[in-house]
């Protein structure tokens, strides 16, 4: 195709710098990271035990489970949706892993993959409900949150399932392939890298961000938005399943009563990381930093012997501050 218009018209406008969106996204992560450093520095000074490697390890371990969930939640939130079912969903996956390994005595790999598949299935159901039944994500996943919680209790008979007889299961989270670093943390970091590549380089990630930016324009552009939303929720489900397996391994048991509230921590981590709840803007690095902030804060407050009830207040305030900073920053570039 040759155009009648001339090439010179298109030369860059020298007045405008080409820093663009990339620079802005980096700023968002730099701010979150600066927040993490400040919190870290504060607790280091406030408590002599904080910088102890055992404590740092504890923070990282605590980050791992919510962090893995938050990775998946990032995809859903990127589309402008929300997934409330990841907390109890994680528990359901842990219970299913217990059923496969302890009750049915299946091989370790099968049990682990089965747990992850349970998460994928839950995500698939969420995606189908949102896409094809048109149920708003908040309600669709609120419902499956309850369903997952109920199913966990039903399947387990309301009692914990222990993995004492399953050789090697505990090693999944607590073994140390890298000496000094629990595998759970390693899994989290590897999962984060995978999620990062998926979000920024794969069709799922690109379409998730496009849908979040402008769902109608994305549909008009010929993308099967409904189908891709199903994929996005299923991807989130896979991460939920992985979180469930790691959780079960760490506790060496599936605790059917656990899980409620984890979804909010995961969402908080995503939001603190600068991902917009309206969709269209999301980074995995931000989510990782957000998850670290959440865990560091809880740990630091505990180590300073702040009562648990006040810890919650502090975490809530930090979420408000983080999101408000983000709003202030956006206001400026709008």
């Amino acid at each position: 195709m040759t155009s009648t218009t001339t090439v010179t018209d298109a030369l860059p406008d020298a007045v405008v710098t080409s820093r663009g969106p990339r620079y802005r996204q980096q700023l968002q992560q730099i701010l979150a990271f600066a927040g993490l450093v400040v919190i870290f520095a504060f607790f280091s000074v406030a408590s002599p035990y904080f910088l102890d490697w055992a404590n740092i390890k504890g923070i990282l371990l605590a980050t791992a489970v919510t962090g893995i969930m938050a990775l998946g939640a990032t995809f859903v939130i990127a589309t402008g949706g929300i997934d409330l079912s990841v907390g109890t969903g994680m528990t359901l996956c842990a219970v299913m892993t217990g059923v496969f390994l302890t009750n049915l005595g299946l091989p370790l790999a099968v049990g682990v993959l089965g747990g992850i598949a349970a998460g994928a299935l839950l995500g698939l159901v969420n995606g189908l409900n949102v896409s094809f039944l048109g149920i708003p994500p908040f309600i669709a996943t609120l419902a499956t949150m309850m369903v997952a919680q109920g199913l966990s209790l039903v399947i387990s008979g309301t009692k914990p399932i222990y993995f004492s007889d399953v050789a090697g299961f505990g090693q999944i989270a607590l073994g140390e392939l890298v000496p000094g670093l629990p595998n759970a943390v390693l899994i989290f970091f590897v999962a984060a890298v995978v999620a990062g590549v998926l979000l920024s380089k794969s069709l799922v990630g690109r379409y998730a961000l496009s849908i979040g930016s402008n769902e109608e324009a994305t549909a008009i552009s010929g993308i099967d938005v409904r189908r891709w939303k199903v994929v996005v929720y299923t991807v989130a489900g896979v991460f939920t399943g992985l979180a469930g397996v790691v959780m079960a391994s760490r506790l060496n048991s599936a605790q059917p009563g656990l899980g409620l509230g984890y979804e909010l921590e995961a969402i908080a981590a995503v939001v603190i990381g600068g991902t917009s709840l309206r969709g269209g803007k999301a980074t995995i690095l931000g989510t990782v930093i957000g998850a670290l902030i959440m865990a560091t804060l809880t740990n630091g407050l505990r180590i300073m012997s702040i009562p648990q009830e006040w810890q919650k207040v502090a975490v809530g305030v930090v979420i408000l501050l983080a999101v408000y900073t983000d709003i202030l920053r956006r206001g400026k570039d709008a």
């Binding site: 218009t5 406008d13 496009s210 930016s213 324009a217 552009s221 993308i223 269209g280």
Partner: protein, 523 residues
């Protein structure tokens, strides 16, 4: 505003004693456009003044000034001899100006009475007195002869019923001036009768009605005088009795059209790329049929609400429709835009910010959006290639942007439009459906878009071009499909098309029975 010295009385001005509402020398600009330029208008006591003009003539802007939504940059408005300087629709209501907009502003889940008295509900002990509310509404309906139940939720009413609610609401303000914007667009004949009865009932020696419409027959029937606006300027005011419809139309379209730039006559024998038969939708379209040839720009003309955008949306699967669509002789079933794109049909919406662009994402992401699937390997996007393709498009379409990483939000309208166009070119779409391609784009950039569309057609693309700007249609399209009320009322070769006969077809309300007669004597 009242201190603004009004110029001496001009020729043709009515005696001030009879004037209810006077608008003088009104100018209003929005960024990039002068919507109104020295516009005047006089509404006499007890009359219905019709306000006519093509899309974009400035009617809506004028209404927005009168209803306090916008304020004029210059000029005076007077109601009953006192300066009218309203800052909000509420203030306008209180001064006695009531407007019935084309789109209803009703709360569907509330009752008829609640809608009418929203914001001024009768209270008792600080709480809303529902019984008094219903009583008031009932009284109002009896006075107006409106057969509605005040307790019924608005959502259960027909369109005509909702129109009645809007009218009742407007009249409940004790209005002096009632402004109606295309009030009959959704009404059937009997309902139009009722509406006219209400209008006549409303008229007293201290009230007046401004009636905006495209329907000449209704204007002939209901109005006393007709004021014509064109391109934001006042053109003329005519006494309705003794004025021929043709005279009104001539004044509506009378602008200079550059007839020197018309497309060359279409070579015959080019293959049909897109063939549409009997395209219909539940809401508007009735039996729309046309053929689109390779290398052709097929213009779609018509007034607002004629159904042109609906044709586009039906073609690309954005809305449900029935009918037969063939692409290069093969019947295709387009259920959604993804199907349309697969068959090589791309859509540039009239609302490019809503349907065209990811404003927060960069040029590359937008240009590549439709082609990501094809340009990816094993589900992963090849960014290097994507950027190369985008850069190439930026060069070929002369998109002015500092880099392909620029967010499209920061581009000008013309360049945004080129980005959307680039998206479909990268996807190799053979059929482009472009809806108002130059809306909100400044003059220089318009020329570029025209050249671009012409070049694309010359290279073999088949283009459906919808436009409300007649000069644009006449300049670019080899053939012109004219629509009115969801039907095709005529197809003209460019050589036969004049602003006059296009407008005549576009106002051919009442449908197909006129069709044969029309195409014969359409001059």
């Amino acid at each position: 505003m009242s201190t603004d010295p009004t110029p001496a009385v001009r020729a043709g001005d009515p005696p001030p004693a009879g004037t209810l509402l006077r608008v003088e020398g009104i100018t209003k600009s929005f960024p990039g456009v002068r919507a109104l330029d020295d516009v005047r208008l006089d509404l006499r006591r007890g009359e219905v003044l019709a306000l006519v003009g093509e899309n974009g003539a400035g009617k809506s802007t004028l209404m927005k000034l009168l209803s306090g939504i916008h304020q004029p940059d210059a000029g005076t408005m007077e109601l009953d001899g006192a300066a009218l300087d309203v800052r909000s629709p509420r203030e306008a209501n209180e001064r006695g100006i009531s407007i019935i907009h084309q789109e209803f502003h009703l709360m569907p889940d509330l009752s008829v009475a609640q809608n009418i008295f929203a914001g001024r509900e009768p209270r008792r002990l600080g709480l809303i007195d529902d019984r008094a509310l219903v009583r008031r509404a009932t009284g109002l309906f009896e006075r107006l002869g409106i057969p509605l139940d005040p307790r019924q939720p608005v959502s259960q009413l027909s369109v005509a019923g909702q129109q009645m609610v809007e009218i009742a609401k407007a009249l409940s303000f004790d209005a002096k001036v009632l402004i109606m914007d295309e009030p009959t667009a959704a009404l059937n004949d009997a309902e139009v009768r009722t509406l006219f009865r209400l209008v006549r009932q409303f008229l007293t020696p201290r009230t007046g009605v401004i009636y905006i419409s495209h329907r000449m027959e209704e204007i002939k029937e209901i109005s006393d005088r007709i004021t014509v606006l064109r391109d934001g300027r006042y053109i003329d005011t005519l006494d309705t009795p003794g004025t021929a419809v043709a005279d009104v139309i001539a004044r509506m379209v009378g602008r200079e059209i550059r007839t020197d730039v018309r497309p060359a006559p279409a070579p015959t024998g080019r293959p049909v790329v897109l063939s549409v038969r009997g395209l219909s939708t539940r809401r508007l379209l009735k039996d729309v049929s046309f053929d689109l040839h390779e290398g052709e720009i097929l213009g779609f003309a018509g007034l607002m609400g004629a159904g042109r955008t609906e044709v586009a949306r039906a073609l690309v699967g954005a809305d449900r429709s029935t009918g037969r669509v063939e692409v290069r002789g093969r019947a295709v079933h387009v259920r959604n835009p993804a199907d349309a794109v697969r068959h090589g049909i791309g859509y540039l919406s009239e609302d490019r910010k809503r349907y065209g662009l990811l404003l927060d994402q960069d040029v590359t992401a937008n240009v590549m959006l439709s082609s990501l699937g094809r340009e990816s390997r094993a589900g992963f996007v090849r960014d290097g290639d994507a950027r190369r393709v985008a850069t190439d498009m930026v060069r070929r379409l002369a998109i002015k942007t500092p880099s392909v990483r620029q967010r499209t939000k920061n581009l000008s309208g013309g360049n945004q439009q080129k980005v959307v166009l680039a998206k479909w070119l990268v996807r190799d779409c053979d059929v482009l459906v472009v809806d108002e391609p130059t809306r909100g784009i400044d003059v220089g950039a318009k020329e570029e878009i025209y050249d671009l569309l012409r070049t694309l057609a010359d290279q073999g693309k088949a283009i459906v071009m919808i436009s409300s700007e007649l000069p644009e249609v006449l300049r670019l399209s080899e053939r012109i499909v004219v629509m009115c009320e969801g039907r095709v009322t005529g197809v003209l070769d460019n050589a036969d098309a004049t602003p006059h006969n296009v407008m005549e077809l576009a106002t051919r309300f009442g449908g197909a029975e006129h069709l044969l007669a029309t195409t014969g004597d359409a001059r």
